[in-house]
Symmetry: C2
Subunit: 191 residues, 2 copies
Amino acid sequence: MSRSNKDRTEATRTALLDAARRLFVEKGYAQTATPDIVAAAGVTRGALYHHFEDKKALFLAVAEREAAAVAAEIETTATPSTDARMALLSGARGYFDAMAANGRTRLLLLEAPAVLGANAAAAIDRDNAERSLHAGLSALLRQHGGRDALDRELTALLSAAFDRAAMEIAAGADRKAYEAALAELIDGLAR
Amino acid sequence: MSRSNKDRTEATRTALLDAARRLFVEKGYAQTATPDIVAAAGVTRGALYHHFEDKKALFLAVAEREAAAVAAEIETTATPSTDARMALLSGARGYFDAMAANGRTRLLLLEAPAVLGANAAAAIDRDNAERSLHAGLSALLRQHGGRDALDRELTALLSAAFDRAAMEIAAGADRKAYEAALAELIDGLAR
DNA sequence: TTTAACATGCGTGCAGCATGTATGTAAAGG
DNA sequence: CCTTTACATACATGCTGCACGCATGTTAAA
């Protein structure tokens, strides 16, 4: 039974990513040792350092895969709407649905900024969640009250509010309440 | 020249806190080694582990001192106002002023949640910034439109927006723009 | 007021462990 | 074949936390 190098590489990489993801979620990045990761993945540290430059690069790969999964989930469950308000609220529900998975808030919102730096962490979802949020918000502002020169800043603030809501929900808060509160914020902008 | 134990303890502790704060801001918690800290403080690791249970406890002490300093600065520069809206906006400016100091956003908003956990980090300013924010927001909601059952959630969301704005400002963003964007959010709630 | 007993602050050395790298080996690929 | 890829192993380095020890401060009795 001999496998091609492509297959071996992909199998090893995903085994490492899966194991690392599990342990990073369970114990956090700093408290997870590479020997634990490779043991859980069924490989040796040699394989890890062959495929990833260092532990941080492994975390980056985990975070990027996770962000891509979030974006994909939102994409598939998106309800296209002509009404900017409804589109935004539907996007919010999709975001909360996606972020409800196992340890996503911890990985993407808690550890990633500290491990990778605020810039790198922001760049990860700059092309994902925040992109569509900016589009939705711009549409809303255009629809009501004309264009707003502060759309960039308002997007950042709303994005932070979305993230905070996702974390609270993951921590056991009432999801409906946070959806309603976000709706109030959004409606306030479309007065 | 002999000093009392009280004096020795306080001198050593503040030397450690000052040195640790500097290095945590410069290189981050994980990249700062205790030998570096004690060297900068002019003591040995024995002194560090005599005064603090471990490295994390040292960071906690640094973060708590920093949060207290922020609260104190806001307190002194607060402009009491009967108008809820003006009070909130003035509080925002005070918060941005306080958070503009050296590496406060990194310490309190980036590292603390990852190092101490989201719960512990939230508890630190639960009694500081978020407390007064909740008071101000409740007043605003009561003044306009009657009481809002979502004041708790709205406070959390606004707090996240404040923090995000402080980080962007510290990263070089236009402060006036973020103040204006926050004002739009707040005015929207007081429609 | 001296002195004895104790507590506190702190320096040093050690054990364990984690990271990253260098070197070696077997299989795949051309 | 000969090179490259995928990995395993061994090693060098550095960091953390603790145990032990010493000197100075503190207290209280004689």
